[in-house]
Point group: C2
Chain length 348, copies 2
DNA sequence: AATTAGCACTCCAATGTGTTGAGTGCTAAC
DNA sequence: GTTAGCACTCAACACATTGGAGTGCTAATT
């Protein structure tokens, strides 16, 4: 059977209607729909075909039709219309971000959380944001300071002024001179490298240059790399979890509980939030139902977008909602937001 | 009417039963209760009295009785029995914390989050933990580093090895010598002071000592204080939010949504989590229903305990559950945990 | 050949109608 | 003071009834 133009139009009409109402839509409804001049009976035939083709299904004999995942897929891939941008709101949020960024380096976190909150509020769905992955970022500055006896504070600054702190416990004390020497060595050897490069090549090279402190230098280096490279997975923030209660198909006790649980745990989100990172940078991805590969989200759709924090360093923003979410609205919201993140983060 | 011993025993029996089952308890149930040798009829009379006195009420004519907030209050204030400690579980959890603490000193946040998770898992309720309030914490080490032209990175370490970073944008560049001088000055003047003390007294004193750099020093100092002193409220972590779905009286859509919302927002929790901080340090507090002063928690009870992070620096741990929570279990869990936190945090 | 009116059929959802049982309050007896 | 006995109440559950929305099929229409 062929998916001709009329079938497409009907499918689109059904889906749009279902997005709005959440109720199965019947042939009469579609028939009344503006520019169709077909009787319910004809529509019924077409809808039966669409069901046979796997794009629609009826929950039961005497109900209307509901899109299948395949139906949504087709809709998302071929039937979306660009929504016109809302300029006013956008610039306001940008200003606020600008402000925060300037003042508090160690607070990207706050900015992102804020972002998530805004996104959730705008879309009425749940939002997810991941911290930009630091381990491809270049090292700009490293410094070791003695705090207490045998306790070193290591401060590292990456391009884009991401600051990381790490405590190193040594089993011996260092004098001022050694410290100075180590600091020089650190900066000379490591500056401009990504953490991955450091991880692979540097250890031996640095050790050889360190002379008498070779062993110490290696120890410190390892400690740094271990601490910073191995963040236990990416950091993820969510916001608007309770928005799921707006959608009856998600809000029954069990589903809601599982869903909020995965949002709280965050572990299950890491796959979605790191897929294709850096590959196609402007990539917006839509996951429908099972495509999320997360069981508790099989009644949800997820849309993710990559933002570029700085050259080569990416993070992701996502929106989680019911499968009948307003794809167009969410897509445009994500475009706005990633656009804005790009602009802000790479500006200075 | 007087609350004689028998009435108390009956009230206690009713409450205990209700804590277990969540169902209104009837006179027959109590009559069968071990060491009462009274007929249901007698119990009924007593229960009617207890209702009149405001400790019990019936949801409807032919249901059993349920404790009122006043009933719970009485129970909590006068009828709790210390639970014999469960040593096995306790030591197990302690071991785990020990483990975490040793590995990552600079990650109080992680430890606390883990704590919250454990507490939620053990109690099957929702847990809340607040970061120790830093602004009473003493400064241990301060350092300014030039990053880019006119951009200074300020690193501050507080007692307990809390590290804070802050970026300062200057309109001029500093040479190495000035920087060194400033660093010395900073450490000499500020070490050992709390952020509050710095806020109030130091600005002028430091300025006078800075000589030619007086203006610069003031600028930097202000910038530091502004950035660190003005944390927007206390930081709060929650865990086990979805445990509320275990308790039917909390898990209907509306209630659950509101509740999880307040957990997500965290703002409404700040009052509960900062009340009496530092006053009576071992204070464990029980809030029942309306006593929480949070509307969405009017069907919940909250128990909070203060932990001492370091001399004079406190944080709070809390458990949020249905009013019919197992008060004894939660109290002992909190005692365990705050005991352990004390021990761990002040150890080195 | 495609469209449509007509009709029988299906099934959910809403509503109403017992029925059951747990629990009460009251009274009178112990 | 305690208790047995009894009439009464009321939520909860199980069924039956109804109404309506929507379908699929067939036969008539264009």
């Amino acid at each position: 059977m062929e998916l001709d133009e009329r079938k497409k139009r009907i499918l689109k009409a059904v889906i749009k209607n279902y997005l709005d109402t959440g109720e199965p839509v019947g042939s009469r409804t579609i028939s009344k729909y503006a520019d169709f001049s077909l009787s319910p009976a004809t529509i019924r035939n077409e809808m039966a075909d669409l069901e046979e083709m796997g794009y629609l299904f009826s929950p039961h004999t005497s109900a209307g039709r509901v899109p299948t995942d395949a139906g949504y897929r087709l809709y998302v891939d071929e039937m979306l219309e660009e929504k016109s941008e809302e300029l006013s709101r956008k610039s306001e949020s940008l200003d606020r971000m600008q402000d925060i960024m300037d003042k508090r380096v160690d607070r990207i976190e706050e900015v992102l959380k804020d972002m998530a909150k805004m996104l959730a509020a705008n879309t009425q769905y749940t939002s997810v944001v991941s911290m930009p992955q630091a381990n491809r970022n270049r090292l700009k500055f490293a410094q070791i300071t003695a705090l207490d006896a045998g306790k070193l504070l290591c401060t590292i600054v990456l391009e884009g002024n991401i600051v990381k702190n790490h405590m190193i416990n040594l089993n011996r004390e260092l004098n001022q001179e050694t410290l100075l020497k180590l600091n020089l060595l650190l900066n000379n050897t490591l500056n401009g490298l990504t953490l991955q490069e450091i991880n692979f090549d540097m250890a031996s090279q640095m050790a050889s240059q360190a002379g008498e402190h070779a062993e110490l230098a290696t120890e410190i280096l390892n400690s740094i790399v271990a601490a910073i490279g191995s963040e236990d997975g990416i950091e993820i923030f969510t916001s608007g979890a309770t928005n799921i209660f707006r959608y009856p198909e998600l809000s029954d006790s069990n589903r809601a509980s599982e869903l909020i649980s995965t949002l709280e745990e965050k572990k299950l989100l890491t796959n979605l939030m790191s897929e294709d990172l850096g590959e196609n940078t402007t990539g917006i991805k839509v996951y429908i139902g099972e495509e999320t590969s997360v069981n508790s989200m099989k009644d949800c759709s997820v849309i993710t977008a990559t933002y570029e924090f700085e050259d080569g360093v990416y993070g992701k923003v996502g929106v989680i909602g019911p499968k009948r979410m307003d794809y167009e609205k969410v897509l445009s919201a994500l475009k706005d937001v990633t656009g804005s993140l790009d602009k802000k983060f790479t500006k200075d």
